[in-house]
């Protein structure tokens, strides 16, 4: 992910709440501290397909916005 970002591609990490610190730390370690982190409700495992879709509904617009900003 960090390598893709360094090459100029649109990138983001999607995480659920408790994993924010891990994501922030890893982004810093891999030299991309500005890497967008998109939070979805926790948990991702052990939920119904409808609940997975709800989480996608949270993440997708944010990511689409990132793509639009990148294209400008």
């Amino acid at each position: 992910m960090a390598e893709l970002r360094k090459r100029g591609l649109v990138t983001a990490v999607i995480y659920s709440g408790p994993f924010r610190k891990l994501g922030e730390t890893q982004a810093r370690i891999f030299g991309v501290p500005e890497l967008p982190l998109i939070e979805i409700p926790h948990p991702l495992g052990g939920v119904s397909i409808d609940e997975v879709r709800e989480r996608a509904d949270v993440a997708v617009p944010v990511f689409v916005d990132l793509i639009r900003k990148h294209q400008k």
């Binding site: 730390t25 890893q26 370690i29």
Partner: protein
Amino acid sequence: MIATERLLEIPGAALEVDDDYEGIDAFLRGKNWTDGLPVVPPTAERVRAMLAYCDRPIDEPVAKIPPRFGEATPIRLAANAVMAGCLPQYFPLVLLAIEALCEEKFNLYGIQATTHPCSTLLVVNGPAAREIGMNSGHNAFGPGNRANATIGRAVRLAMWNIGGGIPASGDMSTHGAPSKYSYCVAENEAANPWEPLNVEMGYSAETSTVTVYGAEPPHNVNDHESLDGEGLLKMIAGTIAQTGANNIYYAGEPLVVIGPEHADSIAKSGFSKRDVKNFLFEHARVPLGNLSDDNIVRRLKQFEPYLPGLTAEQRDRPVPILKGEEAVHVIVVGGAGKHSVYIPTFGPTRPVTLPLKLRDGTLAKSVEDFRQA
């Protein structure tokens, strides 16, 4: 011998703290540099003594430990080994274990950061284990032996302090495990009726090795009744055949640790180690229907490589826990008693065995070979 003065010249290598145990303890805890237990203060003199058993440049990384990817230099590892309570003679094995853990196929990043309760099991074979007095007998996985306890702890402290495996940050384990304090044994080669692990991995019996596993704590197999190998292996297979461990989904090469009395009975029934593995592969299976409906639907694709044509309706079809005859390690550890243990793994990990070698590549006959003039 490395001059203490040189250690103190390395930027950031030394800190000044009042020479008071409680004060040092509070300082280290304040920095979050301990596993919660008290540690031996890593004074320059103690670190120097530890490094007397290292034949490499003290500030040249031997590996990078994820998830922080901190550089594991001998001096940093030595400080953690001192804190863990290691004798300097143990240090070559600590360093070797770190190298093995950081090989790519082990997937230390996953092991460190996962929600799974795996830790890093070290199994030591060969003369070095005997030389430093490791316990391979009664209570080998438990307390009471300095080498077992502190080598395992040194590795764990390095993973904490250098690798950043900090709870709720770099270590997301839901529960953790007591084996995250220390998890290190020697194989009981004297009681092993088959070839020991180092020989099975292609080394001579006189080559010391460390084998690392990304593993759960041991699960017991109590069998006081079976009179022959087939009965004992059936009970071991029954313990392996569970739905909760990751190995039902992933080919993570779990470990079967057979107690000496069980091993003796199994061998006397004519089973070679390969026969043992074949038996466990064939019998450690779980009917698909033992999984919940949601697991069957969502995980079906993971079973297909091992069960071609599998459908969710085939509830009676047995799912192999071991993903091949050779996808399991078998060793002998323990003292008297009718017990063996099964050790599931993280799953997306493979064991790594490394031989104890000097920097120039020659095999070490003794830990004393590392001692610097």
